[in-house]
């Protein structure tokens, strides 16, 4: 479903990605871990071209993202993204946050879009918060609205960029619960996270990134219980 070949990304002189190669299958939950500065967020952001790769290839469902003729707005509709800092639209209610893209991008009527939004709010267990502004919601609630917002475009793939890192500890669980449900429903997911528990429980595959490359990958059991690369061992020994 997603094929990444020889992905490089420089920020000026700083080389952040130095040849990332991987593929992600349909319905697979891939968890990306690694120390800060390892390029894992940049890798994720390249997948929907929020960062423009310096070179390499990204092919999603047979569409080459870096082809100049590719309509990136179209591709992005199939890729939901959840951000570390939620990035909800502060001037819109929860319901409006979720219904704006289906209305303006897909051209649905307000009624259709709001129906989708209400169903999604129910799904993330925020049925009674539709008229709340982001400011009036807790961090965990905001992140759940943000997940619903991404789902409203009915994406085939969901990208999560450290979705629980900006949350108070007691709110991490509610967001992870929503993500687990999504995984159970068969959503293809790429999750950058420090939540090793989530990786073990939900992940089909774990990628360990360091210094701009994928150092090691494998099933959670393999990678956590029997890491082969010394850098993986050293990273895991620090966080587990």
């Amino acid at each position: 479903m997603i094929v990444v070949k020889n992905l490089y990304k420089d920020f000026g002189n700083l080389k952040v990605l130095k040849g990332v190669n991987t593929f992600i299958k349909e319905q697979e939950v891939v968890v990306v871990i690694g120390p800060s500065g390892s390029g894992k967020s940049t890798f994720l952001r390249c997948l929907n071209l929020l960062e423009e790769p310096t070179s390499g290839e990204i092919i999603i469902d047979g569409v080459n993202l870096l082809d100049k003729n590719t309509d990136i707005n179209k591709v992005r509709q199939g890729l939901g993204m959840v951000f570390q800092r939620f990035n909800l639209f502060p001037h819109m209610t929860a319901l409006e946050n979720i219904s704006i893209a289906p209305m303006k991008v897909k051209g649905l009527s307000r009624e259709e879009a709001e129906k989708i939004a209400r169903d999604l709010l129910a799904k993330v267990d925020l049925r009674d918060k539709e008229d709340y502004l982001p400011d009036q919601l807790s961090g965990g609630q905001q992140q759940r609205v943000a997940i619903a917002r991404a789902l409203a475009m009915q994406p085939k793939i969901m990208l999560f960029d450290e979705p629980t890192s900006a949350l108070d500890p007691e709110m991490v669980g509610e967001v992870l619960a929503v993500m687990k449900n999504l995984a159970k429903e068969g959503m293809t997911m790429v999750v950058v996270t420090h939540e090793m528990g989530f990786a073990k429980e939900v992940g089909d595959r774990v990628l360990f990134m360091d210094e701009g490359v994928i150092v090691e990958e494998g099933s959670p059991e393999e990678l956590f219980n029997n890491p082969k690369h010394p850098r993986t061992k050293s990273f895991l020994s620090k966080i587990l």
Binding site: L50, K74, G80, F83, N87, V105, D135, R149, A150
Partner: protein, 230 residues
Amino acid sequence: MNVLEYYAKHLGAVFPSLLRGAVLTIQVTALSEMFGIIIGMFAGLGKLSKNKIIKGFCGAYVDLIRGTPLLVQVFLIYFGLPNLVLQITGNRFPIDPFVAAVWACSINSGAYVAEIFRSGIQSIEKGQMEAARSLGMNKIQAMRYIILPQAFRRIIPPLGNEFIALMKDTSILSAIGLEELVRKGQLYTSSTFASFPVYTGVMLIYLVMTMTVSRFVTYMERRLKVIDRS
């Protein structure tokens, strides 16, 4: 006749005329600010454009207008433009002072508003644009539905200041004979020499107008904050 009587007599006599002038002042200011906001929004967006020609053009416009006096800009449009048309086409091209005034003030205000918009848009955090784009919105949709509505709220106070500044600056238009507030005062003093009553009256009217605008801006600001929170 003592001073007080002199003062009251002339102020009373000139006041209706000053009020008529003030109406014109308000008309020029409101129209110019309206056009200025439209021009300024596009010029501000243009300054943020990745297209170098658009960016350069908008930057040059802002520099040219902000770097030259409004009085000269007004003269250029009211006297200069007809002169240019006459030289090129051989036809007379008289411009109504009111039209020239609105053109000049709109173009002038647009440059200041452009900078207000540019900084307002830049003050919206990057994540907002990223979130909008990640949902499949193109740049124009993201600007229209996500960035500009937020930027608008933030730029209301500086836009209010710009409105007040423009209102005071329209006094310059007396120089092309537009019978706005100051010109009305001048006309009365030229026959009566009652400068003190007249110009204190002019000042008072300006003060009432600017205070009203600034109250209104404060009210709008508070109301939008309530919307943000409630």
